[in-house]
């Protein structure tokens, strides 16, 4: 059997913001059909890691590979990440609030005529298609012309997720997708993560909600203060043990500080 290369491999990634050492010696591998839960407290460096992965910031040093291809950090950008098949769903900053939905589906990679003029008709058709078939917004009074600020939190994540699916991402990064969502809406997001797994794609799921991440992930990577402190397969640990591990870990740190 020919193994597909890992969806993502990061080697010795470091990131400084001025004098602040935000990420230290990060080594991560995500299999081609693996759901990895990235867990950590606020300020652990999860978001910085995501931003490096998705091309928003360049790393200070280290290298990474996407689907076996080496990424040049100097030319890496959000656009390049999209070309590599990495799609990101952020907690709250994936959509432009005052903009129509169809614009939100295509911002950054518009379908254009020559000279950069947008093919509105085609974009709206595809947006309609995504909304009906991928997200399932049927008969809810939402059209492609609706503004994002008319949507509920779950609907917004639906749009962002539908967009990621439409662009056939190989690796989907979900950055705290369930914060501030009601239980029903959380359920929807989790169902989507199961779909990613079934579709043979990879996913990095970032959260600090243990229960959600335990349900969907194959493996957990735990971060603290810019470092990876553990990588545990789901088979090796129960939810309770994982919870206790994390609690114990932060407790241990506190003890160290006190000492």
């Amino acid at each position: 059997m020919v193994e597909k290369p890992a969806a993502l491999q990061m080697v010795n990634i470091e990131k400084y913001f001025g004098l602040v050492h935000a990420l230290r010696n990060i080594n991560i591998e995500v299999g081609s059909n693996e759901i990895v839960g990235l867990i950590g407290d606020n300020g652990a460096g999860k978001s910085t890691l995501v931003k490096i992965l998705t091309g928003v910031y360049p790393p200070s040093s280290g290298e990474f590979y996407i689907a076996g291809r080496r990424v040049n950090p100097r030319t890496y950008s959000v656009k390049r990440a999209h070309e590599y098949g990495i799609e990101t769903v952020y907690q709250d900053k994936s959509l432009g609030e005052k903009q129509a939905l169809w614009r939100n589906f295509f911002i950054g990679r518009q379908i254009t005529y020559p000279f950069g003029f947008i093919n509105v008709k085609k974009e709206k058709e595809i947006a309609q298609e995504i909304m009906l078939n991928t997200i399932g917004f049927r008969g809810r009074g939402i059209t492609v012309n609706s503004k994002v600020n008319k949507l509920s939190g779950g609907e917004r994540q639906g749009v962002a997720i539908g967009r990621a699916m439409h662009f056939e991402a190989e690796l989907i990064v979900l950055d705290e997708p369930t914060v501030a969502l009601s239980l029903k809406e959380v359920r929807k997001v989790l169902n989507f993560v199961h779909k990613i797994k079934e579709g043979g794609k990879a996913c990095v799921y970032i959260t600090h909600d243990m229960q959600d991440v335990y349900e969907v992930s194959d493996r957990f990577i735990i971060m603290d203060r810019g470092e990876i402190v553990a990588s545990i397969a789901k088979a090796d640990i129960s939810l309770k043990a994982l919870d206790e591990f994390l609690l114990g870990y932060s407790q241990g740190l506190k003890d160290k500080e006190l000492a």
Binding site: V56, L95, G96, I107, I118, E155
Partner: protein, 371 residues
Amino acid sequence: MKTVRSVFSFLGKIEALPVFAVMLIMYGTFMVFAPDVFMKYRIYMSILQTVTPPLILALGLTFVITAGEIDLSFPAIVALSGFVFAWGYQNLDQELGREWATWASFTLALGAGALAGFINGFLIAKIGVPSIMATLAAQFFWYGVTIVLAGGRSWRLKDIQEDPVWELFVRRIYGIIPQQGRAPIGVPTQALWALGLAIFLWFILNRHKFGEAIMFIGDNPNVAQVMGVNVVATKIRLFTLMGVIAAFAGLILTLQVTVSYPTQGEGMLLLVMAAVFIGGTSIAGGYGAIIGTFFGAFIIISLEPGIVATKVSGYWVQLIEGLVLGASVVLHIIIGEQNIANFSDRIRRWSTPTRLVKTASAQENMRKEQI
């Protein structure tokens, strides 16, 4: 009720309809109270000429405000470009010959505007200076540069009326409006340029990648960034564009009055901003109304001649301008672009017993709860 509803939602889709209505009401009022002036063509031709420079500036400023930024430096760029043009017109003809000298000066003036705009954009996007401060400094700086270079005096454009550039931009075109037995009516060419520019910029803002990037940046620059918009480059382009547009307005103004003086454009700042806000562009960024700005400029420019013509004392002009600006902004909030369609729901609610009707907003709430 269904027809009312669809009529309202249709009206809601027409951009800048409230502004257009305000403009019609204004001209209607002037026609009633000053028929000897406003029932004749000449005042409108005069308004078309006066409105062009501020209108062009307002179109550019609409882009800047849509991006959530501000530009205070454009009056100085108006003066700068006028001076560069006049200087070239007087000094380049020996080397280049009359006609080429005019064109070269015209291009130089636009280039000067682009340079000033680019510096603004660089300071704001790359260095991170807030736009209000960067462009305030730029305003003093470029007025200063203009006064120093111009030696503090005005520069005449001698015989510019015989030049093709003058013909192309500010000549009056006769024969468009038929006028029997009386002196022919000349339509100012510059108004056609302004109209063309407005249509072009509408397409750029609403149908082009650049315009979409500007709306997303004005909405939330972080979203634009993570969705692959190059925020820094877009902002630099935006301010460069504003510089070129301001220079173009300055050229039109200079050609119109056939003289460049180093304080040209002073007093335009607030007027142009008022035109943009009357037009319905959101000060918060994310939404820009080019058509609204277009009518807004006509409203703010016509108020003064209108009020004077109605023989109300000229002292009232500012008071009424303030009222119109305030009223338009309130109007945009109450029945603005997005809300005019919802207005039909309100009418429905008023016309039926409350308990029996599920209004759209109630349905909306139910829908949100279900999810």
